[in-house]
């Protein structure tokens, strides 16, 4: 009998505490599957952020540490100095990475750190209860923009992949969406490429996942996926921003 599916050894066999319809679980599994397939589980070290995915170390079957809010890329930089032969990654949400941690992410890219950052963009603060993130859309209602985000008060949503692609030390930058089976397959390829770039010491690698937050968006899981397609992708276009030229 052929084995059609096997649960990855990269994940602990527990159910996650993430909300129904949240795509953190998919992103976790893709990263862990990729590490597993590459034979890197034993030499991977991860940094969990502040945010919903602070608990990612409960599920990811690799050595991990927690981070202060937004500092994961600096922490990963320190880890990589001690273990330059290991695979070091951060897993961060948009409040963590695009707001309080902008300095750390830009400068990790700037130094060309041989680390990989997995960035979960769901256009909102999840763990603290649905406040506006820098990635929140114009008109999007959150607990700190009850009438919807306005450009006048809050500026326009921040596009992190585009920004990081302009930084010299960034070797690979790609945005993917966890919105469909083909989107998930493309995301997996991007994860594998990013890890490969790190392993070849080409520079900083970055994968942005357009992700869902049904709870704080006030949508059901299916409608949330639909919102990724109709609203997020037009503003946050998918594709490679650096590292696959030509």
């Amino acid at each position: 009998m052929n084995t059609l599916f096997e649960f990855t050894k990269g994940m602990k066999p527990d159910s996650t505490s993430y909300c129904p319809g949240c795509t953190h679980g998919i992103a976790h599994r893709l990263i862990m599957e990729a590490l597993c397939e590459r034979g890197d589980l034993g030499r991977a070290i991860g940094v969990a952020p502040i945010g919903c995915s602070i608990v990612s170390h409960n599920y990811m079957n690799v050595d991990m540490c927690e981070s202060t809010h937004g500092r994961a890329p600096a922490i990963a930089s320190g880890i990589k100095r001690v273990h330059p032969g290991n695979i070091v990654f951060t897993y961060q949400g948009d409040g963590d990475l695009a707001s309080i941690g902008t300095g750390e992410i830009i400068h990790a890219a700037h130094r060309g750190e041989h680390i990989t950052t997995f960035f979960i963009n769901n256009a909102i603060y999840g763990m603290t209860g649905g406040q506006m993130a820098p990635t929140t859309f114009i008109g999007q209602k959150t607990t700190t923009t009850a009438e919807g985000r306005t450009e006048k008060a809050n500026g326009k949503p921040l596009r992190m992949s585009e920004m990081i692609a302009t930084v010299g030390g960034a070797a690979y930058v790609e945005r993917v969406a966890l919105n469909s089976p083909s989107g998930v397959r493309k995301a997996k390829k991007a994860v594998l490429r990013a890890l490969d770039v790190q392993d070849r010491k080409e520079g900083f690698s970055f994968v942005e996942f357009l992700s869902t937050c049904p709870t704080n968006w006030g949508l059901d899981p299916v409608a949330s996926i639909e919102w990724v397609n109709t609203d997020m992708i037009p503003y946050y276009p998918l594709g490679n921003f650096k590292g696959m030229e030509g």
Binding site: A44, M64, S77, G78, G103, E104
Partner: protein
């Protein structure tokens, strides 16, 4: 010929860290400690280590956390406002029981303040500038040689207690030069297997052990209380084991000074001046600021007329002095602040004023 080396404080601190096995340094420019950062940038790569000029003090302490959690011996240094920025990381490091050595070459404050020597970071260092129930172990060397000796000790203590240790000096000690005996770089043998020495370190589990997770978050209050209480027991042991001081002529003293770091050197000269005037003066010099060496005060003779805290701040050390004296003697303050230094003559004159009033 003399085998001592004439070294600037900041460079000696850096070399002392290297000879103690430090191979990772993360820094950000700030006066008056830049020579240390510059020295590390020159020396660490050749010593098989790594130097990173961080984008901020916040990033520096975070990089240090990463490197220390990964098992490295790490140094970070800064001066007062930069140390203020690092408090987030120091509280966090305590919460995850990760050892680190931090050097504060302190200057006048508050805020940006000035760049001349100051001791107004006493509260920041000993009370904890960050959130939560924690302590940083703090040593205050008074000479460059003592700084070198305490640097080695700081790494051992940090790793034994799995807690950050701070060396608190000021701009005077950082900028001055003195002849020193520096151990060789072979004095500390770097561990071949970090995991054997630090089984908690995140090194990659290599498919041979359960994964290591370094975690601060404890959402259940009973679990958090248990973790903090456990750390509390560690701090109680540190208070018993680490309190240290130097006592100078206190047995028959009619006035006992309390001073740490560079100020204690000024006070030593003042004691000489007072003795020439027939005043029997002595000094308790705390070497550890946390834990504070309260037991030293048991030696103050009943005949003492006053205990005087001498410090480059508006009166911070004096709070611990009052707690240690516990009402047995009048406690007075002689201070300058803002980067102004006391002179031995000034200390002696103000002591005479205090004694005349008594």
């Amino acid at each position: 010929m003399d085998d001592r080396r004439l070294m600037k404080g900041n460079e000696a601190f850096a070399e002392a860290a290297i000879v103690s096995g430090c191979r990772y340094y993360f820094g950000y420019p700030i006066t008056p400690q830049n020579e240390l950062t510059e020295y590390m940038s020159r020396e660490l790569p050749g010593a098989g280590g790594s130097f990173v000029q961080a984008e901020s003090e916040l990033a520096a302490v975070s990089m240090a956390y990463g490197a220390a959690a990964a098992g490295g011996r790490v140094l970070i240094s800064s001066s007062s406002p930069g140390i203020a920025l690092m408090q987030e990381g120091l509280s966090f490091l305590c919460s995850v029981d990760i050892p680190l050595v931090v050097l504060n070459v302190s200057r006048g404050g508050p805020g940006v303040g000035g760049i001349q020597p100051g001791q107004a970071d006493y509260f920041q260092a000993t009370r904890g500038g960050g959130n939560g129930d924690y302590h940083i172990i703090v040593y205050a060397p008074a000479s460059i040689q003592e700084s070198i000796d305490l640097m080695g000790k700081a790494y051992d203590v940090a790793e034994h207690y799995r807690n950050p240790v701070m060396l608190l000096v000021d701009g005077m000690l950082g900028q001055m030069m003195e002849p020193v005996s520096m151990p060789s770089r072979d004095a500390y043998a770097l561990p071949e297997d970090v995991s054997a020495m630090k089984p908690w370190a995140i090194t990659g589990h290599d498919n041979r052990r359960e994964r290591n997770v370094v975690k601060s978050l404890r959402l259940k209050p009973d679990e958090l209380e248990e973790a903090v209480e456990k750390r509390g027991a560690k701090y109680a042991a540190a208070e018993q084991e680490l309190a240290s001081y130097e006592a100078v002529d206190i047995e028959s003293a009619e006035v006992v000074f309390v001073a740490f770091g560079s100020t204690s050197r000024i006070v030593k000269d003042a004691i000489g001046l007072l003795r020439a005037d027939g005043v029997r003066a002595g000094m308790i010099r705390p070497i550890s600021l946390w834990p504070f060496p309260e037991r030293a005060f048991e030696q103050v003779p009943a005949s003492a007329k006053a205990v005087i805290s001498v410090e480059l701040s508006m009166g911070q050390l004096i709070q611990d002095v009052r707690l240690a004296v516990n009402g047995r003697f009048p406690v007075e303050l002689i201070h300058r602040t803002g980067g102004m230094l006391l002179t031995p003559e000034e200390v002696a004159a103000r002591t005479m004023d205090i004694l005349e009033v008594k």
